[in-house]
Amino acid sequence: MTKAEKILAKASKKDKVEAGDIIIADIDIAMTHDLTGPLAVESFEKIGTGKVWDPSKIVIPFDHQVPADSLDSANNHILMREFVRSQKIENFYDVKQGVCHQILPELGHVLPGTVIVGADSHTCTHGALGAFATGIGSTDMAMVFATGKLWFKVPETIRFNITGELASNVSAKDVILHILGETGADGATYKACEYAGETVEKMSISDRMVLSNMAIEMGGKTGMVESDEKTYQYLEGRVKGGKSTINRLKAEQKRFITDLESPSLEIRDIDVDELEPLLSCPHNVDNVKPASEVDVEIDQVFLGSCTNGRIEDLRDAARILKGETIADSTRMLVIPASRETYMKALDEGLIKIFVEAGALVSAPCCGPCLGGHTGIIGPGETSLSTSNRNFKGRQGSPEGEVYLCSAKVAAKSAIEGRISVPEL
C-alpha cells in the first residue's frame, strides 16, 4: 500500500484499502476559518444534531478577513465566535494568530499518520508532516462537525522522487513550480502527491510545506512527505503530550511508509541540479517560465501567504533587501504567516530591514493572496507574489496580472521594480 492507502486504512479501521475504494474515515482534525466557516455553520445547523461530534478536534482560525474590513466580515466573525462559544470549540484562534495552514502545524494540531480535513483547498500543506490532509467544502465540513466522519475515494499516488542540489538563488518554490509546469493544472486530479528523494530529505519542514501546499494546483488530493527526525524535532514543544506523543509517533512511523511496489503508485524522477528561478505567469499556475526570460515591470510585490510567509522566506528576502531601497514605482507588502513568524522576524531584525527598504509590513493574515482584503490590485496592474494562485482576478481586478515566484525573486524584483533574478 501507499502512504495515503495506509493512513486511510487505519482511519477506516481496515487492514487494507486500495485506490478506488470508497471508505468512511474517522477525522482527527477538522479546520474551518472565517470565510468558509459561516457556510459550514449554516449547513451544520440545518442538519440539526445540535452538538458537534468533538469540540477538541475542531480548529477555527480567523485569517482571511482580519481584522474585519467590512460589516459583512464583522458579522461573519461574530457568527463564528458565537459558534465557538456555544459549541465549546477548544481550538479557536482569533484575529491575532495567523494563517490557518501555518498555525495548525505550529500549534501542534498536525501529527504524522492522521487524517486532517479543512474547508480550504490548501489544507494539503499539512502533508509535509506526514498527515493525510485534504481540502473539502462547507457542506462536507458540516457533516464532519456532526459525525466526525467523511467518505473518501482512496486515491492513487504520484511520488515525485526529487534528486540534486539546489543553486543558491533557487528555492523549494522553484521545485514545485517546475513540477507544476511539467504535470499541468489537472495532472494529479484525484491523486495523492508524495514528495521524496534526497533533495526533500535535506529540506527543512518549511520547504516541505511549500511542496505540499501547492499539490492542489495540479489537482492533487493531498501532498505528503514521509515523517523523519526533522519532523519530530519540529513537533517537539508543539504537540500535546510532549515526549510521550513524539515517542509514540516515532514507534509507528514505519507503519505509514509507502511500499514502492504498490500497484497504485507511479514514481516520477525530478532532477533539480540545473533548476533556475522560475515564475508562474498569468493566468494559470502551470504556465511556468524561467524568471530570467521574463522582463516585466511590477506595481506590487507580495511576500507572504501559506506558501511562502514563513521565517525562512522572510530571511531569504531580508538578506537581499538589507541596505537596499525598493523601487519608487513598486510597492511591497510583507505579511508574516503567523504570530510566531512575526515575533521571530522582529527578534532577528528582519522587520526593520523591510521597513527601512520601504516595504509595508502587516499583521499575520492571508493578505492580497485571494483579493478579498488588503493589497488588492487594480486594472492594468501587475503583482509579483509569493503566494500560490495567479488566476484571472485572483488578487483584485480581472484586468490585473499576477506572477508567482519565490521570496528571493520577490525581494530582488522589488529593488529593481521589474522581474529580476538574484545573483548566485
Partner: protein, 164 residues
Amino acid sequence: MMEGKVWKFGDDIDTDIILPGRYLIYTDEERLSQHCMEGLDSEFPNKVDNGDFIVAGKNFGCGSSREHAPIAIKGCGIRAVIAESFARIFYRNSTNVGLTLIEAPGISQYVKEGDKIQIDMDTGVIIAGENRIEFKKLPPFMMGILEEGGLINYLKKNPNIEPQ
C-alpha cells in the same frame, strides 16, 4: 429530460473566475449569484435564463474549496454544468449543494454558445442537434442528493446512508 440553452467556457475555469474572493463574505444564494462568472463576464447572471446549461472544457472548478462557487452557479439559474472534466473539490461541493455536474469528454466539440441541447439523466445521453453524446450515468445515491436539492436535505430524508 432537461432542455436549455448553452453558455460555453474553455479549459481550467477556476473558482476565482466563477466567484471572486471578495464576495466570499456572503453566504446567501441570491447575493452570490449576482457575481457568478464575474471574472470573465460581469453580465453573465443577467443573461442566463432559468434552466440553461454551462458547457466547459477540462478541469472546471479548479482552485479554491469555496462552496460559494457552485451555490452562485445554481443561484443564477444554471440547471447543470457539462464539462470534459471537473476538479475534485468542486465536484463534491456541487453535488452537496444540489448542482448537477455531468462529465462528458468531447462535449466541447459538439456544441457552441447559444445551442439548445437536451439532457436525459435516466439514459445518460445529451442530444445536441444531430449528435447524441453519451455520458456515464450518475449512481442512484447521487441522483437522490440532486433531486433533494443537496446533501443536507437528502440526509434528513435518508438518515442512515452509507457510501456505495
